[in-house]
Symmetry: C2
Subunit: 168 residues, 2 copies
Amino acid sequence: MTTHRPTGRDEAAAQRPPRGTAFLLAQVGAHAAARFAERISELGLIPAEVGILRMIAARPGRSQRSLAEELGVVPSRIVALVDRLEGKGLLARARNPTDRRNHALQLTAEGGAVMARMRGLAAAHEDQICAALDDAQRAHLSSLLAAIAAQQGLTPGVHPGYQQPPPT
Amino acid sequence: MTTHRPTGRDEAAAQRPPRGTAFLLAQVGAHAAARFAERISELGLIPAEVGILRMIAARPGRSQRSLAEELGVVPSRIVALVDRLEGKGLLARARNPTDRRNHALQLTAEGGAVMARMRGLAAAHEDQICAALDDAQRAHLSSLLAAIAAQQGLTPGVHPGYQQPPPT
DNA sequence: TATTGTTATACTCTATAACTATA
DNA sequence: TATAGTTATAGAGTATAACAATA
């Protein structure tokens, strides 16, 4: 615990954390993202690729356009990511017989295997990042973060890479 | 709160948050960073520039090399950032009389004024990001994050942009 | 020789916009 | 005419490495 501090006169100032909570969030979040990127590099993947694979695993057969919309990015960006993943043999663009304009994206067997390995890495990552906290603290942290995420309108499971800021 | 959920038989599975804590950290952290970037764009600044200005304000006269080391980036990257800030009139490269190889970086008056405005924006940002939490919850979140940051060896006040991962 | 800063260069990521094919 | 996907292109950001000035 780091909450006990001398509660003297300058209490208001002492209570104020040296850097704001929002800064800490950004700092620790970026660190977590960087460590995760490091871990999955052993699979030859970058975080965006893992995100795509995860979304397809969750809903097989979805189109590239639907990925672009959910991620809030432009369709041409999906093309590059899907190209690479297809090149690695992790997913396949299947033709949709009823509407041949779009691609029904599917994980290959190898893609499924990679996802299984990825889940192991993610669990280890979680443990490494939260090493300072016991189980109750982790649960508490999760609920606080979930409350912020919900209030801020974040889509569960979607990392806001550095999306285009809404035009001013 | 989002912690109450049907506690039935698959309890172990149900207790496990839908996405891990580390993912939530990265997600909320990236969101906070993006909202901050949006806010300071009204000052014509990007987050990296604010970071440089803040470090110089905290210790005037420091060299570009010391910034590069503390941030964990390559010196040539500092050149570009300092170039832009100097071009905007927010900081000055003063010659160090005792060792003319390095620059003693100083904020200009205008740079100081911009930093004052920035602090106002940061406070508003903090409030907006933490809107879902009351004061006690914010303090608790801060202490949990600070514990993680300390255990992970993060330098206080230094955002790990996306630094070069340590060579494997 | 070592150090500080700079420049030149190449590479990656990403958005924009024009294009193809289907509907 | 509208939609899914693709390609071509350009811009920003960043690391590498060679270089100049100073110690």
